[in-house]
């Protein structure tokens, strides 16, 4: 059992790892071009993204908080992909979830604990509903999910922007935003002065829940089989249509939840420009995380840390534009996607190691 599982993990992790390392090397090269100190940059990047300074003043906490919506939208992508549907609609579902939470946050008044729970359920519901649309179009008519979700994202952005600017607009505000939601709806944060709180816990729970769903429930089993081999699923008696819709509903709910938590835990309202591409970030995390919940978790934290480190460290301390962070992340995606670039190198190194081990087993020399 030891060797094959180790090899499986090795295969899954090796290419992303090499991609990240290559990305960091590239970052070093770009910093050299700017005539800035390279090693100090790396140091600053990591301490400002993942480190702790004075006692209780951990930037890492902010990284975790920033990672929360990415984890959830990443999970959303994972569920969709693993059913065979290439849905990139997380952005739209996220926005609608946020809008729902923002509205119900001030429109209805409920006692604490109940209020946020209701809001989260509403966000999940609306996200699921919005994801149902491309799902049913695909299953019943055969509409391309990728193209449909691109359109639906744009529609969602416009609709939510409208909602913020008109019906939900708080009185007398120059930049449009909705009224602040009732305090009873706010998500508790664990440390004063930080937004890190219940939201992150929910994200962690979601990671566990999605993992269990995919590999330990019959519904997850159904959708994975349908996604991997449609003919096999049909032959075995799996209703692929139903499992595809189910997957989209769950995917939408997760993305909607991300939006809801962002409103309830961080901004406490929704405003113009709320959409910062977190849906796409989740997508990226899913791809780089090997379409696996745990991978998403790790990658989301890594990315948030890189971005934060670039912003607080590289920019503030060394005057290196923080966009370097985002650029490198883009290159890492490229390196992972062009994985075959590394593949030949990996196979050669493996062959070398195998030869050495074989020699050792057969006795030195000969």
């Amino acid at each position: 059992m030891n060797d094959p599982t180790f090899k499986k993990i090795q295969d899954a992790v090796l290419v992303p790892l090499l991609a990240i390392l290559s990305g960091l090397v590239l970052m070093g090269i770009l910093i050299l071009f700017l005539k800035k100190p390279v090693f100090e940059s790396y140091y600053v990047l990591f301490t400002k993204g993942f480190g702790c300074e004075a006692y209780g003043n951990c930037v890492f906490i902010s990284t975790l908080e920033r990672a929360t919506p990415i984890i959830l939208t990443g999970l959303s992508a994972v569920v969709a992909f693993r059913s065979g549907l290439f849905s990139i609609g997380q952005e739209g579902q996220y926005l609608f979830g946020a809008a729902a939470a923002a509205w119900l946050g001030y429109a209805i008044h409920l006692p604490p604990i109940i209020h946020p729970i209701v809001l989260m359920l509403a966000a999940m519901l609306i996200g699921a509903a919005y994801a149902w649309i491309p799902g049913i179009l695909k299953v019943k008519i055969g509409v391309n999910v990728l193209l449909a979700t691109i359109m639906l994202n744009s529609i969602a952005m416009l609709v939510v922007e409208y909602l913020v600017q008109f019906p939900m607009r708080a009185e007398k505000s120059t930049t449009a935003h909705s009224p602040v939601i009732d305090e009873s709806a706010w998500l508790v944060s664990f440390l004063p002065g930080s937004k890190w709180g219940v939201g992150f816990v929910i994200a962690v729970i979601a990671v566990v829940a999605v993992t269990i769903y995919l590999w330990r429930t019959k519904y997850g089993y159904e959708q994975r089989m349908a996604g991997q081999s449609g003919r096999f699923a049909l032959y075995g008696g799996i209703r692929s249509d139903r499992s595809a819709i189910r997957a989209m509903l769950i995917s939408g709910a997760l993305a909607g939840l991300a939006g809801g938590i962002e409103v309830m835990g961080v901004h406490h309202r929704i405003m113009t420009g709320f959409s910062t591409g977190l849906g796409f970030d989740g997508l990226t995390a899913a791809i780089l995380g090997g379409v696996h919940p745990v991978g998403v978790f790790i990658v989301a934290i890594l990315f948030s840390g890189l971005k934060l480190g670039a912003q607080l460290g590289l920019q503030l301390k060394l005057g290196i534009p923080r966009e370097l962070g985002g650029t490198i992340i883009g290159f890492i995606i490229l390196f992972v996607a062009a994985g075959s670039l590394f593949q030949s190198g990996i196979t050669r190194v493996r062959a070398l190691l195998d030869k050495r081990q074989a020699r050792r087993v057969n006795g030195e020399g000969d």
Partner: protein
């Protein structure tokens, strides 16, 4: 209600055409790639690169027109890179596009901040905006005269590009080959057509067109570059290409539709209290409907053979006396 109708003016239509231009250019590029069988979702990246490189080149070379050419070259290079990664390493097109979009969006701002000063947007008074051209005779034509005259050269180029693309795709040999590659790659390759080459050419041309579209925004319009300047126009172009069914004239009309929606939204906002966003929404909704209609048509065509068979069986049964085989 008078306020509502005051919205429809010649200025509105002129605005529509101007706003449609970058979309048209990018959409033509996207449509060309679609016709060649390569889904190109990186239009946003190519536009943004063109916007940035164009204005920087215009500044350093002291000539805005040269800036346009450099923008086109930059877009074309990105297209070449895209083609190379796709064909050599078989990178998934969607992931490739996401990566490019992200890299260019961040990298342009990074370079701007690193080299031109740590600013949010960059401009320079020495940069000349591409001037508008009045066409002497045409502007005198009643009614449509003002609609056809008075735009800058990029706009006219986009119209020309539409016509040229139509001619090339449907009246010329290489264009037909490209369409064959997109529709039936096996058929094309069997007769010796080089699919990889044609797809690469499509991606390069699309890059150049997108680059020009982006430069229109920076040099031709706002005279500056700022973060995420293209504001999603690349994605609008993707929709316009789909809506126009990848046909140059269809893409032209679709782009005008999107441009009109944009212009109308701005106008409505200025003159009335009606929400502009809902108007901007219509083209996307229309595209979604088109997608659905196309899928529906395909589905019905596939099942038609089967339904005909069943109908035939039923008529056989009706005309034959019921004789069960032993």
């Amino acid at each position: 209600m008078e306020g509502f109708f005051s919205v429809f003016t010649v200025e509105l239509l002129q605005s529509s055409i101007r706003l449609a231009t970058p979309i048209l250019l990018a959409a033509l590029g996207g449509a060309l790639c679609n016709q060649a069988g390569v889904l190109n979702l990186a239009l946003e990246a190519k536009m943004l690169l063109g916007a940035f490189v164009g204005i920087v080149a215009a500044f350093y070379l002291g000539n805005s027109y040269l800036g346009l050419l450099v923008a086109m070259a930059a877009g074309a290079t990105l297209g070449l890179l895209f083609a190379f990664l796709y064909h050599k390493y078989k990178v998934d097109l969607v992931i490739l596009a996401i990566a490019f979009n992200l890299i260019i969006a961040e990298l342009t701002v990074f370079v701007m901040r690193a080299m031109l000063g740590n600013v949010g947007s960059w401009s320079d008074p020495s940069i000349q905006r591409i001037p508008n051209i009045t066409l002497p005779l045409i502007e005198k034509i009643p009614v449509i005269g003002p609609l056809l005259s008075g735009y800058n050269i990029i706009v006219y180029f986009s119209w020309l590009a539409t016509v040229v693309m139509f001619i090339v795709l449907y009246k010329m040999r290489r264009g037909r080959h490209l369409r064959a590659v997109g529709e039936a790659k096996g058929a094309a390759e069997t007769v010796g057509i080089n699919a990889v080459l044609l797809q690469t050419v499509a991606l390069v041309i699309a890059g150049a067109l997108c680059g020009l579209g982006g430069a229109f925004l920076s040099i031709g319009h706002l005279k500056l570059f700022t973060r995420n300047m293209t504001a999603g126009r690349g994605w609008v172009a993707i929709a316009a290409a789909m809506f126009g069914m990848n046909h140059p004239f269809g893409v032209f009309l679709a782009s005008m539709f999107f441009g009109f929606a944009d212009a109308f939204a701005v106008r409505v906002q200025a003159v009335t209290d009606l929400p502009p966003n809902l108007v901007k929404l219509l083209p996307y909704l229309a595209t979604l409907i088109v997608l659905t209609a196309i899928a529906l048509r395909t589905k019905l065509a596939l099942s038609m053979a089967r339904r005909r068979f069943r109908a035939q069986l039923r008529t056989e049964e009706a005309t034959m006396p019921a004789e069960k085989p032993a």
